[in-house]
């Protein structure tokens, strides 16, 4: 480990943090300004905050249900994608299947599609094809969890593949020689070694799902609407309710922060695995 002057590091990071935090601080400033002050000369220092927007947002039952939907959909999707991505990467990394590299590349092409035009076929499929009796996949949480796989599953596969490739095959081979089952090798040998990669994948897939707007806006109506679609309700022809939008945004940061806090520990845990000397 190179000996660095911690002062330099702290100054450097404080500067970076200031730049990172400023727009977020400004979001907060907007949330505690009455609408009437938004179009006046700006002031960096916050004085006399106004909490009216918070009262409105907190008292809104619809927004609370959007919050629950967002949490369920993002968490469900992140867990699903990370799990399936992990299995898929184990397969791609360990088996000599015909055409697996092409398959690997193909998965990512699913993320490249410009979403606007894919909404129509998804809408048609989810209303008319993926429907049993009265049930249709449109406007359901499970439907959104599956739809979000189109961009998050490829992402999980692509971020986990280098991690799995980096784990020496000799480790599982040795375990097999000792008579371990495949399940045991995957869950007890490989899985723990992938923890940092899995943690990062979980965080980022969660974030992508949490932040997604366009698909949710089109494919949900009443039951599975998410917070991002709730935000767009405040952009109207009679004026954008910037204060309310900002307040909801501040609220969306809280669960996201908690999830980050929970998962970041595991990235830290991974640090013991090996640190680079630069």
């Amino acid at each position: 480990m190179k000996k660095n002057n911690p002062i330099i590091a702290i100054v450097f990071w404080s500067l970076v943090s200031f730049l990172t935090l400023f727009p977020i601080y400004w979001l907060f400033v907007i949330s505690v300004k009455p609408a009437v002050q938004l179009f006046s000369t700006p002031d960096v220092i916050l004085s006399d905050p106004y909490w009216g927007n918070y009262a409105k947002v907190w008292g809104d039952r619809l927004l609370r249900s959007y919050m629950v939907n967002s949490l369920v959909i993002s968490t469900g999707n992140a867990l699903l994608c990370t799990t399936l991505g992990f299995f898929a990467c184990y397969a791609l990394s360990r088996f000599k299947m015909a055409g697996k590299e092409s398959l690997f590349f193909w998965t990512i092409t699913n993320r490249m599609a410009p979403p606007a035009v894919f909404l129509l076929p998804l809408f048609l499929l989810m209303t008319q094809v993926y429907a049993v009796g009265d049930f249709r996949l449109l406007d359901t949480r499970i439907g959104m969890i599956l739809v979000y796989c189109t961009f998050n599953l490829p992402f999980a596969i692509w971020t986990l593949r280098p991690t799995l490739d980096g784990i020496p095959k000799e480790l599982d081979e040795a375990a097999y020689v000792d008579g371990a089952s495949s399940w045991k090798v995957i869950t007890e040998i490989v899985f723990p070694l992938c923890r940092p990669g899995l943690a990062v994948t979980l965080i980022l897939t969660w974030v992508f799902a949490w932040n997604e707007y366009l698909l949710a806006a089109t494919l949900t109506n009443f039951n599975a609407r998410t917070l991002t679609t709730g935000l767009s309700e405040y952009v109207t022809t009679t004026g954008t309710e910037w204060g309310i939008m900002a307040t909801i945004s501040v609220f969306t940061l809280i669960p996201a922060l908690i999830v980050f806090g929970l998962v970041q520990k595991h990235i830290v845990a991974g640090l013991t695995f090996g640190a680079v000397k630069g």
Binding site: T20, F95, T159, P162, V200, I267, G274
Partner: protein
């Protein structure tokens, strides 16, 4: 080594989901792309018109313009994010007081939805009353207006994108760096290699797969960027920030031009795949040969 059957079983759920939610819609879009179809045309039905849409696209100045502004945007944004992200990831490899807090702060932009990011930057950049133009003017006498200056609008979007997405690059690179085995580095130091040699001959090849994966993700996400730009400039001034994502959005949503919009999407998807494939083959060729 296990039988390949287990491999296929592990892959199966992924393939099934991607088939039903990725491949089937794609087939539909390809089908529509060979039709003239606008539900509000005099004839609202789908009319097969062969390759006409594809012929038209070659001469579509608006589309070509949107491709070129997108490419410039993506190059600027992704390269900057990669460089800054790598520097920050390396900086996180060292120990210093308050590291956990700084790392958490650094990841905060990621948890903001693109439409929120676009809104905040719009308010910060509103000509004359946004905080940034206001203080640039008050302190430095610089007057910027993203409503009239294409350069200002373009630069704002790039800076916004760097602000928003560099943490993604940093995080994935941290994951790659911490997973590196220490032996080659120790060996190299014993052999007397200098910092630069270590960087180019050991670090780069070893983290290349992760870098490529990250660049891919950023590249394709940047190519699809819609929400932030939609909120910030709406594609303006003029067509200065009308990226392909925004262009397709306008073609498909307000214009309901489903046929031609599908054609543009297919072409954009094709170009993205080709660009990524080339990158993939070039960057990862050494690794694949080794196998």
């Amino acid at each position: 080594m296990q039988s390949n059957r287990l491999g296929w079983i592990l892959l199966a759920p992924t393939l099934v989901i991607l088939f039903f939610f990725g491949v089937l819609p794609f087939i539909y879009v390809v089908y529509v792309s060979f039709h003239q179809w606008n539900p509000f045309a005099a004839d609202p039905t789908m009319i097969f018109n062969g390759a006409d849409n594809f012929r038209k696209i070659v001469f579509d100045a608006e589309f070509l313009n949107s491709v070129s502004v997108t490419v410039i945007f993506v190059l600027f944004a992704v390269i900057s994010e990669l460089v800054v992200g790598y520097v920050l990831a390396q900086a996180f490899m060292k120990e210093f007081p308050g590291k956990a807090i700084f790392r958490t702060i650094h990841t905060l932009p990621l948890i903001m939805a693109p439409i929120i990011v676009g809104s905040v930057w719009k308010l910060m950049m509103t000509p004359s009353i946004g905080i940034i133009p206001h203080y640039l003017n008050a302190w430095f006498g610089i007057s910027i207006n993203i409503g009239t200056s294409p350069v200002a609008a373009f630069a704002t979007i790039i800076i916004m994108d760097i602000w928003h997405w560099t943490p993604l690059v940093t995080l994935t690179l941290i994951a790659a760096l911490v997973s590196l085995p220490p032996d080659p580095f120790e060996q190299a130091q014993i052999d007397g290699a200098n910092k630069r040699q270590i960087f180019f001959h050991i670090t780069v090849p070893m983290i290349a797969p992760a870098v490529v994966a990250t660049v891919f993700i950023r590249l394709m996400d940047a190519l699809r960027t819609v929400d932030e730009v939609w909120m910030l400039t709406g594609g303006g001034p003029g067509s200065a920030t009308r990226f392909v994502g925004v262009h397709i959005f306008k073609e498909v949503f307000p214009k309901t031009n489903y046929g031609y919009g599908s054609t543009i999407s297919v072409i954009v998807l094709y170009l993205t795949i080709v660009a990524c494939w080339l990158l993939y083959v070039t960057m990862l060729a050494p690794r694949n040969k080794k196998d």
